[in-house]
Each structure stands twice: as structure tokens, then as C-alpha cells.
């Protein structure tokens, strides 16, 4: 079994940020492995532990994103592929999917795992775009994976329940973070990751694919604000009844 996991480096969404003249400014440049991709790596590792096989982490990004490949390898991925892109350009899911498709075109594998979305943009498009570009069957929003023989059984969270889907190989899955708790790399993992190979890819063909952007960001703005309302502290019986009355009489929502 050969698994590829597509991983992305994302800014830390918990870090403070500001908007100046429509531009997004983050107070730190702390970056991390996209949480959904960490779950995808974890899912691949669990399958590998049971059934064997090889896991390759693939990332498109600027130089500083290489540390994120190390993180995936410290978790246990066997090797990495680094596809270099310039930093100061805005790429959308469409262009990343084109570039990944160009990379995977002549590769052999059983399954590609993606995250279900990027934590910073919540786009959720790249995975199924890539599947379509490669002509692969796919399942999105996976919350559980297991093998039935050589075929993956994927449990996905649908609108009203969970759908269990048989996904033949080669195929693509996008992973929810609700499927597992990604392991924290231990010291041994971190040491080993330094000896694991990372292939750097800089081909004109792949770079050309990046120009496929279809959408652009015009700017950022604050969310229409919600102010903190009134806090009720004191004797439980009294404040509970008071708020209940207000919801009826003032807010008219009962």
C-alpha cells in the first residue's frame, strides 16, 4: 500500500490578528500543520501500523513550510515531497489542486489523503478538485477508515447521518479532525525525521499549474461585531428566572 498525504502549512488561527487598510496582519508568524491534515497523517499511520505500506507527505509552499513536512515525518510519515512556491502570491484551491494533479499524474499509489479543509480559509475544495482532475473516486469528510481486504471502507459524516462507503484503490479521501487525535511527535520521532528523505520538486510544468487561480482576495474586514451583553451573577434561582422572563418579554423569543 502506498499512501500520499497532502499537507499544508497554515497560520495559527488562535494567534491575535489585526486588519490594517484591508490587509491581514498577524502579530506572530507562528505556523502549523493544518489540523485536518494532521488527522489525515494520523489516519494513514494507523492503517500502516495494521497493514504495512509507505506514507509520503506532499506539501506545496514557501521555504519556511519545509518544517511542516518535518512535523509530518516526526509523526511517522516515511518521506516527504516539497513543491516550492513563492510566498507573496495568492493561490487558491483551484491552483493548488492543479499543481498537485500535475505532480500526481504519473505516480502510482493506492490512496491520497487530504484534509477536509484548510483551517485558515475553510475552503474545503482542494481534495475533491484533485480527485476529479485525476479521475479518482473520492469520499470527503471522513470520520473513520478501515480496510476490508484491499479496499477502504470510509465512514463519512453526511447531512443526516454517517454514510459508510466502499472506496476502491486508487482513490482519494478528505479527512475530518473528528476522526482521531493526531499523535504528538516524541523525541525519537523527531530525531528520525531528520534522516528521512525530502524530495524537492521544481518543475516548470508544476509551476505553470499555479497560474490557474480563479478567485482573488480583495481584502479583509472585521466581522460585524457582537458586543458582550449583560452578565447575571448572584443567586441561581433569581437570575435564572429573571433571564427567562426577559427572553419572553423583551426579546420575544419564547
Amino acid at each position: 500500500m502506498k499512501f500520499y498525504v497532502c499537507i499544508k502549512q497554515v497560520p495559527d488561527v488562535n494567534a491575535p490578528l489585526q486588519i490594517k487598510n484591508g490587509q491581514l496582519i498577524q502579530d506572530t508568524d507562528r505556523n502549523s500543520l493544518n489540523a485536518y491534515d494532521a488527522s489525515a497523517v494520523e489516519a494513514a499511520l494507523v492503517l500502516q501500523e495494521k497493514h504495512g505500506g509507505e506514507i509520503v507527505a506532499v506539501l506545496i509552499g514557501p521555504d519556511k513550510a519545509k518544517e511542516t513536512i518535518r512535523k509530518a515525518m516526526a509523526m511517522g510519515a516515511d518521506s516527504g515531497v516539497f513543491i516550492h512556491s513563492e510566498t507573496d502570491t495568492y493561490y487558491d484551491s483551484y491552483s493548488y489542486a492543479q499543481m498537485l494533479a500535475a505532480y500526481f499524474k504519473n505516480k502510482e499509489f493506492n490512496y491520497i489523503f487530504c484534509g477536509k479543509q484548510s483551517q485558515d480559509t475553510d475552503a474545503g475544495l482542494t481534495g475533491s478538485m484533485l480527485a476529479e482532475l485525476l479521475g479518482l473516486p473520492y469520499v470527503t469528510n471522513a470520520v473513520g477508515l478501515e480496510f476490508s481486504g484491499d479496499v477502504l471502507l470510509v465512514r463519512r459524516q453526511g447531512d443526516t447521518g454517517q454514510e459508510v462507503i466502499e472506496l476502491p484503490s486508487p482513490g482519494l479521501v478528505t479527512c475530518s479532525n473528528d476522526m482521531n487525535d493526531p499523535r504528538i511527535p516524541n523525541l525519537k520521532g523527531i530525531m528520525q525525521s531528520k534522516r528521512k528523505p525530502v524530495e524537492s520538486v521544481t518543475s516548470d510544468e508544476l509551476q505553470a499549474a499555479l497560474s490557474a487561480v480563479k478567485t482573488k482576495i480583495l481584502g479583509y474586514e472585521e466581522k460585524p461585531g457582537r458586543e458582550a451583553g449583560k452578565k447575571y451573577e448572584g443567586e441561581a434561582d433569581e437570575i435564572a428566572r429573571q433571564v427567562a422572563r426577559i427572553l419572553d418579554e423583551t426579546e420575544n423569543v419564547i
Partner: protein
């Protein structure tokens, strides 16, 4: 004349309100720009459902009917959508954001070479494409985005627009569609449906959300009692869906459902940004939490500081009285 096409999401033979919200907005934009607004139903009972849809005034309702659409599966849905777009040639295709539409948006966009925007909270037409707003960075801020493609596909968060009825001359047009089982690249083996799953959270007028503070059976009983008094849908934070206490389809937030009820009551929920991402558009927010510094109080209209086990019984009791006085 070019048309704005709204895909109508159907659940158990019923049109999802969120897709009527999208259709209503497209009707409005069509009027402004002198275009038409039409709708597309892909379902096993598409022609029956088209009757329900006429009250919302699309100029044409396109139907694609086939038994294969009994349950959601991306392969046939993609084929049908691609066929519909090729024959209708719309300017845009707008979807309500659901797990089923999110499943195919990217693939359809790659298939058609079209631009796509997911989970927008506002949209308008420009000379050359679509301009939209989308919450980003775990919904802490909003980005303004633009596509300048001949065809743009996008999904819209529930609660972004109001539903309005419209009287219009509506034509129904069936698009012939065939599908054989060999084309199914994936196989649906089973659907695990939660028993408590009957109220559609994203459409509920009142949502009670339970968090880690709801520790035990007694807490869950209180939550249920409150929900039944208020005829509310029950949702949960990730802390409780992950622990298996509530079904995963009830999770509210960045990874779960977006709710925008008239009244949201968060019980024992801290208010992590990823949870708030899914409920910040509620009209009235009430939070019950024993920690007066909990971040949920920063966005709550009414914050009740206290132990939920002590607050809920009199709260429920008072609401019962209010109800009985009506």
C-alpha cells in the same frame, strides 16, 4: 437571457430552507440585473418537489429524476450537475452549504473548469463574475473575494438571507438523465442514522447547545427538558460529540453545523473560536457557565454565571410558566 441557477437541496422529500434562502437572494439579484432566476432539483421525486417550489417564483424549475438519488452519492450527483450546467448554461450556480453540496463543489468546479467559492455569507454579481464575503481564520474575520470567471459556483451559509415568496409564471422542464450501476465508482454500504436526528439543526428556530459542563445523565436530562419546553433542536460542542455523548451530526462549529436560530442557549460551553464560528449569527445568545471569564460571555447577550445544575431547574420552571401563560 442568462440565468442564475439555484440548486435545491432536498431532505426526505422536503426542501431545505437554506436553499430557499439562496433562491430568494438570486431572485432579487436577477431583478436588479435584468436576468432570470431558475432552480434545479435533482432527486428521486424531483417532479413532486417542483410543486412545493413554485411558491418561491423561479422562472424555470429544471428537474432531474432518478432512483439513484435516493441517498447522497457524489458520482451520480456530479454527472447530473455537469449535464445540467451544460444544457442550461447558467451564469452562476448557487447552492446552500450542506455536507452533500460541499462534497461535490470542488469536483464540479474542476470538471467544468469553473471558479468556486465555498461557504459565503453574502454574494453579489459584478460585471465579470461574483463578489462574495466569506468568514476566514476560524470565522474571526471576513474576507472579500471575487471570481472573474464566466461560470462561478458557490455555496452559501445557512441563515445568510431571508426566504421570500414570489408569484411568477413558472415552467417546469425535465432534463433526461440515465445512470447505470457500472458508473458508480463508489458503493454506499450503509447509513448510520442517529435516532435523535429528526430536527434539522440548521433550520431550528431555537437551539440548545450542550458542552463539556454537561457532565452526566442528570445534566443531559436537564438539557432535554429545556429543549422540549422550548421545542428546540439540541446541538453540542465538539467536547461532547467527540466523547460520544451526542451524535457527531449535532456538532456546531467550524467543523460541524452552522446554526442561526432566533435563540441559542449554550450550556456549559466555553466559547472556543471554533464553536463560535458556527453560532455567532444567532439572533439572541444566552450562555450558562460557571466561569465568569468564559469567552462565550464576550458574545452572549445574556450571560448567566452559575452552575448549570442549579440554574437550569428554575430556568426551566420559569419558562414553563411563561409558556402556560400564553
Amino acid at each position: 437571457m442568462s440565468t442564475l441557477l439555484t440548486y435545491i437541496s432536498v431532505n426526505d422529500g422536503k426542501i431545505k430552507r437554506s436553499s430557499l434562502e439562496v433562491l430568494s437572494r438570486c431572485n432579487e439579484l436577477a431583478d436588479i440585473h435584468n436576468l432570470t432566476s431558475s432552480a434545479l432539483i435533482i432527486d428521486k421525486d424531483a417532479s413532486n418537489i417542483s410543486e412545493q417550489l413554485k411558491a418561491y417564483g423561479p422562472s424555470v424549475i429544471y428537474t432531474i429524476e432518478n432512483p439513484v438519488f435516493k441517498n447522497h452519492l457524489n458520482t451520480p450527483l456530479l454527472k447530473a450537475l455537469s449535464l445540467a450546467v451544460h444544457s442550461i448554461k447558467p451564469l452562476v450556480v448557487a447552492f446552500a452549504s450542506t455536507e452533500s453540496t460541499k462534497d461535490i463543489l470542488g469536483a464540479l468546479s474542476a470538471n467544468l473548469g469553473a471558479a468556486s467559492l465555498s461557504d459565503v455569507s453574502e454574494f453579489e454579481l459584478t460585471e465579470t463574475g461574483v463578489k462574495a464575503k466569506r468568514p476566514v481564520m476560524a470565522s474571526k474575520i471576513v474576507s472579500s473575494v471575487e471570481s472573474s470567471d464566466r461560470l462561478t459556483l458557490f455555496t452559501v451559509r445557512s441563515g445568510s438571507y431571508d426566504v421570500s415568496l414570489k408569484t411568477a409564471e413558472t415552467k417546469v422542464e425535465n432534463i433526461p438523465f440515465s445512470f447505470n450501476d457500472e458508473e458508480l465508482k463508489i458503493t454506499l454500504k450503509e447509513i448510520i442514522t442517529a435516532s435523535s436526528d429528526k430536527v434539522d439543526l440548521s433550520e431550528a428556530e431555537t437551539v440548545i447547545a450542550a458542552g463539556r459542563g454537561v457532565k452526566d445523565e442528570e445534566g443531559r436530562k436537564l438539557v432535554e427538558e429545556l429543549a422540549s419546553v422550548l421545542n428546540a433542536g439540541i446541538g453540542a460542542s465538539r467536547a461532547l460529540t467527540e466523547a460520544g455523548v451526542y451524535d457527531p451530526s449535532l456538532q456546531i462549529g467550524q467543523t460541524g453545523k452552522v446554526v442561526s436560530p432566533q435563540l441559542y442557549i449554550g450550556i456549559g460551553i466555553s466559547g472556543a473560536i471554533q464553536h463560535v464560528a458556527g453560532m455567532a449569527n444567532s439572533k439572541v445568545i444566552v450562555a450558562i457557565n460557571k466561569d465568569s471569564d468564559a469567552p462565550i460571555f464576550d458574545i452572549a447577550d445574556y450571560g448567566i454565571v452559575g452552575d448549570l445544575y442549579k440554574i437550569l431547574p428554575p430556568f426551566i420552571d420559569e419558562l414553563k410558566k411563561v409558556k402556560s401563560e400564553k
